[in-house]
Each structure stands twice: as C-alpha cells, then as structure tokens.
C-alpha cells in the first residue's frame, strides 16, 4: 500500500458528535494552519440539532489557494462511532484514519488500503480529569495537540491562538495548553510521522477569515441600514446577530450612549418584511434576513414593494428546500422564488455574492439600489457562504462615499413648485420621485397603495392607466440592468466554443475545476453571473459558444430557467450541471460532469 504524501495540499475531515465542544477545537486547528501562512477553507456540515447528532468539519489545506471543496478526504478524524462506517468509506485510498484507540476494534472495522493512527484519547482523559464535562472538552483539545505533532503544525502558533481565544478568561489558558501537550507528547513518544504535512508559507497575505453572514451584516452597517426586523431561521440568524453586534460597536452615539439603529425580532417573517417596508417608506434604510421558508411567507409584501415601489432589502441565506427541506445544508434553490416572488407580474433584482468579501460589498450596494430603484433587492447568500468562515481579501471602504438615497423630492423642491407625481416617469428611466412622509405642509403628500393608480397616485382601474404603469415598471427593471453588478468573464487559455455560467458559492470549486479541465486539455470559457436582471453580456456569452454549461446547486437548474426565460436563448444550448445533495459542490464533481458531457458530444474541438 502506498500512502498519500502531500505538503500543504490535503483535506482533513473531523467527524464529531454535535454539542460535544468540538467546534472550537476544530476551529483552532484550521486557524493555526492559516497563521502559518497556508490558505485554508473550513466548512461545517452540521445537523438541525443541538446535541447528539453527527456533525462534520472539513478543512481544505491548499497552498495554491483552492478554497472550494475538492472532494475526498485524506485524513479522517473519526470521533463519532455513529458514522464510523460512512466516514471510513470516504477516505481516499492511501489516506489516513485518526481515531480514539482506547477500546480495541475488530479488524473488519478498518480498511486495508488506508493508514490507521490510533491515540487512546478517552483513556488519557479519564486518567487526567475527573469531571465528565472536562473529559469531553479536553478530548477535543488533546486530538488537536496530537494532530499538530502528526502534521507538523507550529505549537507556538496554537498556543498564541489559545491565548487570544481565552483572553479575559485567563485561567482557562494553562489547562488548554496542557491538554494540547498531552496529545502532542503521546504522538512524539508512540507514533511515527505520516505523509501529510503543513509547512510554513506566505500565501495568506493580508486576507481575513470571516463568515459571509457577518460580512453582510457589516455591509449593512456601512450601507446605512438603521432598521432590521427579523425572525430566527437557520442559516440566516447569525446575520441579524452580527448586525446587532456591529451596531453596538459602531452605531452607539458616543455622547449619549443611545442607539442609532433599531432591531426588532419580529413575530414572524411577514411582520419582519412589513416592518422593513414601513421603515423604508418612511425614509430609513431597512432590511430583513431569512431563508427559503421566510421568503415564501414574505411574498405578498414583496409584491407590494414592487407595485407600490417601496425599497426593501432581503438577505436570503439559502438552505436545502423545498418545505423545511434540509435546514442545515446548503443549496442555491431560491433563485426563481426570489426573482419572481409574489402574485401577478413581478420581478426583482437579485445580487449573487460569491464569498464574504462580496457579501460586504453587495450588502452595502443593496441599500443604494433599493433606494435608487424603489423596490425589493434580494441578496442571495447560501449556507456555505453565510455560516462558514472563508478567506477573503480585507474589507474596503472609501471614505467620502455617499449614501445614494435615490430620487427623493425635498421640502425645497416642493416649495419651488416642482411637479410631484409619485408614479410619474420624469426622466425616462422608469423611476419616479418619492417624498418622505411629513416633508411639506401642503405639497408632496400622497396615498401609497397596492391597488392600481395613476401617475399622481390616485386610485384607477382604467386599463390604459394600469398598462402604462406596468410598462413603466418594466422600463425601471431595464434600468436596473446597468446598476446591478456586471458578470465577470474568465477565458480559457485557448479559443473554445464551450462555456460555463455559474454564480455564488460555486465559484472557488469552479475555478479549480477549470484548472483540472485545462490540465486534461479541455478548454472552457467561464462567466460568473453577479446580478439579475442579466446584463447583455450574458446573452452575448451564450451566443458566442456552441454549448454553455450552467453549474448550480439545485435540482432543476433554476438559473438556467431564469436565463432561458429572460435572455431568450435556445434551451438546448444550456447544459445543466446540478449538484443538490446539500453539501457544498466540489471541484471534482464539476470537472467530472463537464468532462463527461464534453466527451459525449462530438464537437470539432473535442477531437483536436
């Protein structure tokens, strides 16, 4: 048997029991590698449960900077007997199994084509600690210590991280470091090195390690959001909680200590979006964050926002659907539900961040767009981006950047006698002017309604008036095309008639898949969609290619459907590549699917 031998390029997966305190130990492991200058992507794969069910933590170590999931596991840290068989099966041939060897296991519980590394963790804990909770918690720290020895992780780095983690609770530092050494010493005295190794590098640079939900929350603070109304739902809850934390930090009036924000945990998602719409109607920037089930509940209000033209921002942190679906697993399956939310003819701009850096930027942008377009803007995160820490370039903000409030008529405008028609298209871009309530004693008042009305906001059921208004809304949507983030194109090293379209959290795995395909001599041009309505570049890209793969994380190819519907292309040209088992898509999956489909299609280029 030949063992896998890799430096700074392997996958470690931790199989744990939920609620056993493994999360912070595993996080310590990932961050220590990062501090050694080696890029890391860490993903939680967790159950909808507080205690007892299986949970996994997958760490991709990649000096070359591949931050998507690769597929396969080189070192499995199997700490959960419930999932032992499945976890063992996932290990690459020649890979490694790390396990608690306290209790002897029969030979048939192992595999012949992997290398087994046993450390008697339970026995060590039982000998060192008497308190059951301590036995459990320190077991995790002991295995991190053992792994640090096996993988050659710098102990000084880990010790420093422990110091940072328990800052203010200093009495916890020494026992944790002691436990780390316990594991480390055991390996030094009893085991040989394995073929996987971490070596110091300088590939992390000034990048930061942060969750997309936190990044989006911070973007909302910078974007000027003052009102947040939300209802707890996985995987969006941490966005509202991060917003609360950042507001306390950045939005507390330094003189009075009072809040320059208002956060309401509403009674449900309907009330959440209602509060957002009321606040935005009254001139405050407001948002809610939710997931698919919440979007379903909000749709009536989204229709009101569309038709009465009231700004709103919704962060949809997508999870596995339909219905309750897989609440703690990731998908990109709300694309159509968001794009066409509500009854009647409606469509709404969507933003597709690919990683936390874009979550920050697009969150701030969403508030400008909502005010500019006077409609609901959806920011489409997913669980993979939202709840995992990703390596991303530092957040940037240009001082002096102004908040764009859009077309708002002021007291002075009204006083100067400007004609105010709330739904009057004065500039030809479909966007009318609005007034905030209370602006002027006798001008600019109007009645906002979800019923049909004329350009001066008077109730009307006349067909022609209704049609004019609906056409104006289409003009406004056309204007949105140039305001949402433009797609980003990356061409293959050689001219090709094959293309791929993708978006969101698929991005890092797709970039790696393109490299794999290039190495096989398969060339594919790539276009990353970042906003809806689609820029003309999307249609142009499809026209340039004979076949275009559309890679997404849902069953039905929702982005593909949206492109077919909105861009008007031959559906046969758009080849779906769909991954939807709830785990983040992998580079191997994408490369495998595209390679198979390219091979199956006898086109001139494939024969070259």
């Amino acid at each position: 048997m030949s063992s896998v031998a890799r430096v700074n390029d392997f996958v470690v997966k931790f199989a744990n029991v939920n609620g056993s305190g493994s999360a912070s130990a595993n996080g310590l492991f990932a961050k220590s590698i990062l501090r050694m200058g080696v890029p890391v992507a860490a993903r939680n794969i967790f159950p909808s449960n507080i205690q007892g069910l299986p949970t996994w933590f997958e760490v991709r170590i990649s000096e070359s900077g591949h931050l998507g999931r690769r597929g396969g596991v080189d070192l499995m840290v199997a700490m959960n007997p419930q999932t032992w068989d499945k976890d063992l099966a996932e290990i690459e041939p020649g890979g490694y199994l790390f396990y608690d060897s306290t209790k002897p296991l029969p030979h048939e519980k192992f595999r012949d084509d992997i290398k087994v590394v046993g450390v008697p963790l339970t026995a060590m804990c039982n000998a060192a600690y008497s308190d059951p909770r301590q036995r459990q918690l320190f077991k995790n720290i002991i295995y991190v210590g053992a792994l640090s020895a096996l993988l050659d992780i710098d102990m000084a780095v880990i010790e420093q991280l422990v110091g940072e983690q328990f800052k203010g609770k200093d009495r916890l530092i020494a026992p944790n470091i002691e436990a780390l050494h316990m594991g480390r010493d055991y390996v030094a005295q009893n085991l040989k090195a394995i073929g996987l190794r971490v070596r110091r590098a300088d590939k992390v640079g000034d990048r930061i390690f942060v969750e997309g939900n936190a990044a989006a929350a911070l973007g909302a603070v910078f974007g000027g959001a003052t009102v947040c109304a939300w209802y707890p739902i996985t995987p969006s809850t941490s966005l509202a909680e991060a917003f609360t934390g950042y507001c306390e930090q950045f939005r507390t009036d330094p003189e009075t200590g009072k809040a320059r924000y208002a956060i309401i945990q509403a009674e449900d998602e309907i009330a959440s979006i209602g509060i957002v719409i009321g606040a935005a109607w009254n001139g405050a920037r407001a948002f809610t964050c939710t997931s698919g089930p919440g979007v379903s509940l909000m749709t009536e209000f989204v229709g009101l926002s569309y038709f009465a033209e009231v700004p709103a921002v919704i962060f949809d942190v997508q999870r596995g659907g339909p219905s309750t679906g897989m609440p703690t697993r990731t998908q990109q399956a709300d694309i159509l539900a968001a794009a066409y939310a509500a009854h009647g003819d409606t469509k709404h701009p969507l933003l597709f961040p690919a990683e936390p850096g874009e979550c920050f930027e697009m969150a701030a942008l969403a508030f400008d767009l909502a005010d500019r377009l006077q409609t609901t803007i959806f920011v489409m995160l997913d669980l993979d981006i939202g709840m995992n820490e990703w390596l991303t370039k530092p957040f940037e903000w240009e001082d002096g950047r102004r908040i764009d409030r859009g077309k708002v008529m002021t007291y002075d405008d009204l006083e100067a006698g400007k004609d105010f028609g709330r739904y009057l298209d004065v500039d030809g871009d479909g966007i009318p002017y609005r007034t905030y309530p209370g602006t002027h004693p006798d001008r600019g008042g109007y009645f906002t309604r979800g019923t049909s009305r004329n350009p001066y906001a008077r109730y009307s059921e006349e067909g022609a008036v209704y049609v004019d208004n609906m056409q104006r809304l289409l003009r406004k949507f056309e204007t949105a095309k140039s305001l949402v983030p433009a797609p980003m194109r990356q061409d293959a090293s050689r001219a090709t008639k094959s293309g791929v379209i993708y978006f969101g959290s698929t991005t890092p795995a797709l970039s790696e898949a393109l490299e794999m395909l290039e190495a096989q001599g398969r060339h594919v041009n790539a276009l990353r969609v970042r906003g809806f309505p689609f820029a003309d570049a999307v249609g142009d890209f499809i026209a340039e290619h004979d076949q275009v793969f559309v890679v997404e994380q849902n069953r039905d190819g929702q982005l593909r459907t949206l492109i077919m519907n909105e861009v008007g292309v031959d559906p046969a040209k758009l080849v779906p590549v769909n991954h939807y088992d709830g785990t983040p898509i992998t580079a191997r999956f994408i490369a495998g699917e595209i390679a198979a489909k390219l091979a199956a299609r006898p086109i001139a280029e494939a024969a070259e």
């Binding site: 009102v227 809040a259 320059r260 509060i275 719409i277 405050a284 940037e396 905030y436 309530p437 009645f447």
Partner: protein, 351 residues
C-alpha cells in the same frame, strides 16, 4: 357614496385653528363607502379631533390594511401621507414607519377582519411592543367588501343577514389590548360622536400604544334584527363607564362637576383627561379590574364603552430600544457609516 365632489370653496368665516387651518384642511377625498356607513362618522371624528388638537396635517401618517375600514384613510387628512398596506399587516408597517421617524404621529386604521382575523397576530405584537400610535378598529362584526360573511368579532349567537347563526366565540380586542399591555384602551360607538371625538383626541395626545375599538355598524350587511353590531342593538346595550373631556396642555381647566364624580389624569404631553364618572366604581387606572369588569358586563350582554384604561406616563418602543433623539431617517452619512479606519481595525481582528 356620493358622486358629487365637494367644492373646494368654503364659507369665508369658516373658523381656523391657531395653525391657520380650517376643518376642511383636515378632510380627504370623497368617501366611496355606503351612505350611512358608521366608518364615515369615525372619519368625521378623526377630522374634528385633529382640527381641534391643532395638529399639522402633514405630521400625521395614516396607515391601514385592507377592507372597508382600511379604505377610509383616503377620506380624511388629504395632505398627510397614507399607506394602504396588505390585509392584516398594517401593524408591522406602522411599526417600521414609527421606527424610522419617531417625530410623526401614527394613526392606524383597521377593521375587525383586518385586525381580529387575518391580522390578529400583528395586532397583538404591535400592542405588546408599545408602538407609539393610535390604533382604531372600525368594528362592524362583518366582512363588508365581500358581502356579509361573519368576522371574528361577531358575537356568539348573533345572526347574519342571511339568517345564519354564528357558533364561534367572539374575539374581544379590548380585552386583548388590555392583557397585552396597551397603555390607552377605549371602546366607543360610531353613532356617538360626543363620546368618540374626545377619545380620539386623548389617544392622539397619548405617548404610547393607544387602542380604540369603535363599534361601527355596517348598514348593508349587519344592521338587522339578530345582529349584535346594529345601530339599534348597540344603542340599547351601550353602557358608558365615563365621559371624557380633554384639556390641551397649559389650557385653563374649567369644568363643572359634582364632587366625587370627576377624575383628572395628566398625560405625558401635559394634556389633562377630565373623566366624568358614569359608573361610580369604575377605575380606568386599574388594568386587572378593567379586565374583570369587561368580562362581567359582557356576560350580561352590555356593550361597555368609554376610556377603559390609561397609563398617563407609558414607555414606548423607542424607549425600550433606547434610540437616539433624532429620527433614524434623518441621521447623516457620517453618523451611519463607520469609515475606513474603523474597518481596517476590524480587518485586523479577523486574521
């Protein structure tokens, strides 16, 4: 409804209030409700209350849901911003609007379908949050726009126009509002303007969640024998516990009264509520007693009206959230955006 638009002209001697506004300046579009509808009387009381309180019309925001009652904000305060939201969801929109600008006066108008059926949840939660507002339910016990179905406030045993007897228990919004912590709770009757107008004035002067349940008979679908929300029925069973006069802040107090029959309550804004007791035992400062009183009298078939509870110095949602004095919608870019230096510091903490 009438098809004749009201002329803009009015009598040259029509009185103005201190802001220079006449009563006409508080009116809105011509009502499209049925002739004789109780809701139009409530609109008239709102107009009168705002005129007499000398409120600048544009500083009032009026919000409603869907239904006959929710159409009425179009028919008063024509210079105010209005928002006809979605069915049963006015409370959340009003809450959001209030969060954005605490300086405006918020008037929520709803019906019994809007607030007791589809919107019961939102009704409850905006009351329990203590949103500073006046929330009026124009309660006719029936779905008017869809032609005569029972609503959730229809009394058990009452009969529909088609002769169907209601076998569901009624939702009593007044009891709910009391239980949920509303700091001003009243019930009135659209046929009693003398009672209703001062109640609306007092509610508008109140600095917290003020709720008025106003029974407002539906002349088309719920004004027949067997209905418990008809003009005749309510007149016969109306038991007012008190009569209210409201005295604006700093105005001289001159009220004639027999000793022991008058109670004076000073509200946060300095306005004084002068309550003439009609029921000697009734104490509108005792929430628990009010609840018990209502239950007892309702069991006897009485429709208890008047100012049922008031806490003159309530805390509102902004107090709970401890927001800055300036409205959130008026904060400057500098107050909202932390800036590049703060961001650099934050970046450093994420490595």
């Amino acid at each position: 409804m009438t098809y004749i638009a009201k002329p803009r002209m009015h009598h040259p001697k029509l009185a103005s209030n201190s802001l220079g506004f006449t009563r006409r300046d508080y009116e809105g579009a011509v009502s499209t409700l049925c002739a004789g509808c109780g809701h139009d009387s409530i609109s008239a009381s709102i107009i009168r209350a705002c005129y007499e309180l000398e409120l600048p019309p544009h500083r009032i925001a009026k919000l409603s849901g869907i239904g006959c009652s929710s159409k009425t904000p179009d028919y008063f305060l024509g210079n105010s911003h209005g928002f006809n939201t979605v069915h049963g969801r006015m409370p959340s929109v009003l809450t959001g609007a209030n969060l954005a600008n605490k300086e405006l006066i918020y008037l929520g108008v709803s019906g019994d379908g809007d607030s007791a059926s589809i919107g019961l949840g939102q009704f409850a939660h905006c009351i329990r949050r203590g949103v500073n507002m006046v929330y009026i339910v124009e309660n006719n016990g029936v779905y008017g726009l869809t032609k005569g179905q029972f609503s959730a406030t229809s009394d058990y045993g009452s009969k529909s126009k088609r002769g169907v007897v209601n076998h569901d228990s009624a939702v009593d919004l007044v009891s709910l509002a009391l239980q949920l912590g509303a700091s001003f709770v009243a019930r009135s009757f659209s046929g009693d303007k003398r009672q209703l107008t001062p109640l609306i004035k007092a509610a508008l002067s109140h600095n917290g969640a003020a709720f008025i349940d106003c029974i407002s008979p539906c002349v088309q679908f719920n004004n027949h024998v067997g209905s418990t929300k008809s003009f005749d029925y309510v007149r016969e069973h109306n038991e007012a516990v008190n009569r209210l006069d409201i005295i604006p802040p700093r105005a001289p107090i001159t009220i004639d009264h027999a000793p022991g029959t008058l109670e004076m309550v000073t509200q946060h804004d300095g306005s004084v509520l002068a309550l003439r007791k009609l029921d000697a035992q009734y104490d509108p400062s005792d929430r628990a007693a009010a609840l018990a009183f209502l239950q007892q009298r309702q069991a006897l078939g009485e429709v208890v009206t008047g100012l049922l509870f008031v806490d003159p110095t309530p805390k509102d949602l902004h107090d709970h959230l401890d927001t800055v004095a300036r409205p959130l919608n008026a904060l400057t870019d500098a107050e909202l955006t932390p800036g590049a230096a703060a961001l650099a510091e934050l970046n450093a903490s994420l490595r």
